[in-house]
Amino acid sequence: MSAPINERSNLDLETPEKPYLDSNELIINMGPQHPATHGVLRVILKLDGEKVLGTECVIGYLHRGVEKIAENRTYTMFNPYVDRMDYVAAVSNGLGYCEAVEKLLNTEAPPRAKYIRVILTELNRIASHQLWLGTHALDIGAMTPLFYTFRDREEILKIFEKYCGARLTTHAFRIGGCQYETYAGFEKDVKNFLTFFAPKIDEYEALLTGNRIWLERTKNVGVISGADAIALGVTGPVLRASGVKWDLRKAQPYAAYSEFDFEIPTGENGDTFDRYMVRMIEMRQSMRIIEQAVNGIPEGPIMGKVPKVIKPPVGEIYHSIEAPKGELGYFIVSDGSTQPYRVRVRPPSFVNLQALDVMVRGMLVADVVAVIGTLDIVLGEVDR
C-alpha cells in the first residue's frame, strides 16, 4: 500500500557550526514598570541562562529635585517635603529633619515632645516593616501575609490620623517640638495597639518562619558579608543581618532613645532569611520601646523655645537618625538667612540599593526579586 522507500534520506545530522542552543550571555531588562521592583526601579540583568552575571540599576524616574526645592523654601516650608521621600516612613523623615534644624539652632525639643516623637517614630517603624513584609512575601509567592500586614498596619495609620489628620505623609513634627498635643485617649489607643499587635507578629511568624517554601527561597539568598556591607555603606537591618551590631539609636542616641531599654537584633549569615528575622525582632523591640515611652510620657510643654521665623546662624551641620531602612542623614548649610543654603539628604535606600549587584551575582533571576524585596527600598527616597 505504501510506496516503497527507495530514496535515501538526505537528513544532515552533522553538528552545525553554530550550536542550536545559543550559549551567549543575555542582557535582559527588568522594569521600570515591573510589579516586583517596588516602584520605578529599572534593573539591567546580564544573564548566563538563569544565572545572574551582573546587574546595573537605572534610577531617577521619580527624581523631583527635593534638595533644590529646599534651597528655595524656608526651613519651615521645607518640612512637609521630607515626608514625600520615604513615604512609608514619613514620621522618621520628619524627625531627622526637625532634629537637624534644631541642632543647627542649637536647641532641643522638650522632653514631652521627645517622647511623643519616639512613640510615633517607632509606630512608623512597625508600619514600615509591615509593608515590607507583606510586599516581600508577595514577591516570593506567599500572598496571605500581605493581607495580614495591611490589616494590622491600618491600626497604626488610624492612630496617626487621629493624632495629626494624615495617614501617610503625616508632617507630625515641627522644628522645636510637636505641633499637636496628644488627643484624649492617645495613650489608651497606643496601649490597645500593643496588646492587639503582639499576637499578630506570632501569626506572621507562624505563616513564614518555619515554612519550607519560605526557607528555600530565603536561606543563602543574597548573602552579603559584614565587611562588604560596611565597605558599601549599607546600613539598617541589612547591615545588622550581616552581623554588625550597629544601630544609631544606641550608638549615637537622639530624641529620647537613651532612656529606653531595648535590644539590637543581629543575624549571622547575612542572607535574606536573616534580614527577615532581624526585622521581625525589630518590630518586637519597637513595641518594647513604645510601651516604655507611653508609660513614662512626661508632662510639660510640647514646643521648645524657637523663634517663629527660623534663622539659624551661619554654619553647617550633619545629623542622622536610624530610619526603618538605615541611616537617614541631613547635611544642612545655613548662610544665616531664612532659607537653607543647601540641604543634602543622605538616603538609606539609595546607598543600600548599590549593594544589589554584589548580592545577586551568581544567583538566579527569581532571587533578584527576593533581594530587591529584602533590601526594602522606597524609590521615592532613592530618587528624591
Partner: protein
C-alpha cells in the same frame, strides 16, 4: 470619650494642653519682635566647655556658636605631617577637617587605613558661585570602632577634578556619580562616571546656584517627551 473615664491618670494632660496650644502660639508671637535673640541666647548657654575661652572676644556679636579649633591626637599627628594644608575645627560638637585639594588623596586614605574611618557615610558638594574656588566638596566619614564622625572638606574651582575614592570606599561609586550629576564635578579614576538621577543627555547641573528652580533642559524635554517645555 468613655475611654477617658476608665483611665483617669493619662487624660488630664491632654486636657490642659489643647488649651495651651492656643496660647503657645502667643508666646511665640511675643518673641517675634526679637526673633533673633532666642537663637543667639540659646547657643550661649550650652556653649560647650571649650567655648568660654573664646567667649570674651565673641559676645559683641550675637552670631551664635562659632567654629572652635579642634584638638585631638589625630589632628596633632596630621598637622605635624602636613602643616598648613590642614585645618581642624569643631562646630556644635561636630568635627571637620578643611584640607587643601592636593592633600585629599592622602588624607582620605590615611583616615581609612590608620584611623579606622571605615564607613563613608556621604559625599556631597556645596556651590558658592561668588568664590574663586566655587565648590566645597564634603566627605562625611564614620568609624565603627571609634563611634566617631568626621567631615573632610576641600575647595575646588569650577572645572577642576578630584581623585575618586571608590578604591577606598566602594560606596563612593554612586555618591560620586550623584555629585557629578548635580554639580558637574569630575572624579578622576571613577570606574563609570555618568549621570545617575537625571537622564543621560541632560544639559546643566541642577544643584549649582545659577540653575533656576524652574529651569529644565528644554531640548531634552522636547526630543524625548515630545512636548513643549511645561514651564
Amino acid at each position: 470619650m468613655a475611654e477617658e473615664v476608665k483611665t483617669p491618670a493619662p487624660p488630664p494632660p491632654p486636657q490642659p494642653q489643647p488649651a495651651k496650644t492656643g496660647p503657645s502660639g502667643g508666646p511665640e508671637g511675643e518673641q517675634k519682635p526679637t526673633a533673633e535673640k532666642p537663637a543667639a541666647a540659646a547657643p550661649a548657654a550650652p556653649a560647650k566647655p571649650a567655648a568660654p575661652a573664646a567667649k570674651p572676644a565673641a559676645p559683641a556679636k550675637p552670631a551664635g556658636p562659632v567654629p572652635m579649633p579642634w584638638t585631638s591626637p589625630l589632628v596633632e599627628k596630621y598637622k605635624g605631617q602636613y602643616g598648613s594644608g590642614l585645618d581642624a575645627q569643631t562646630y556644635l560638637g561636630q568635627n571637620y577637617l578643611s584640607v587643601d585639594r592636593s592633600l585629599i588623596p592622602d588624607i582620605l586614605r590615611l583616615l581609612r587605613d590608620e584611623e579606622q574611618f571605615d564607613y563613608c557615610v556621604d559625599i556631597t558638594a556645596v556651590h558658592y558661585p561668588k568664590r574663586e574656588k566655587q565648590f566645597d566638596v564634603v566627605w562625611i566619614l564614620y568609624s565603627f570602632p571609634r563611634n566617631e564622625r568626621v567631615r573632610v572638606k576641600t575647595q575646588i574651582a569650577d572645572g577642576a577634578s578630584l581623585p575618586s575614592s571608590v578604591s577606598i570606599w566602594p560606596t563612593a561609586n554612586w555618591l560620586e556619580r550623584e555629585v557629578y550629576d548635580m554639580f558637574g564635578i569630575q572624579f578622576d579614576g571613577h570606574p563609570d562616571l555618568k549621570r545617575i538621577l537625571l537622564p543621560d543627555g541632560w544639559k546643566g547641573y541642577p544643584l549649582r546656584k545659577d540653575y533656576g528652580i524652574l529651569q529644565q533642559d528644554k531640548e531634552w524635554v522636547q526630543i524625548n517627551l515630545g512636548i513643549e517645555s511645561g514651564q
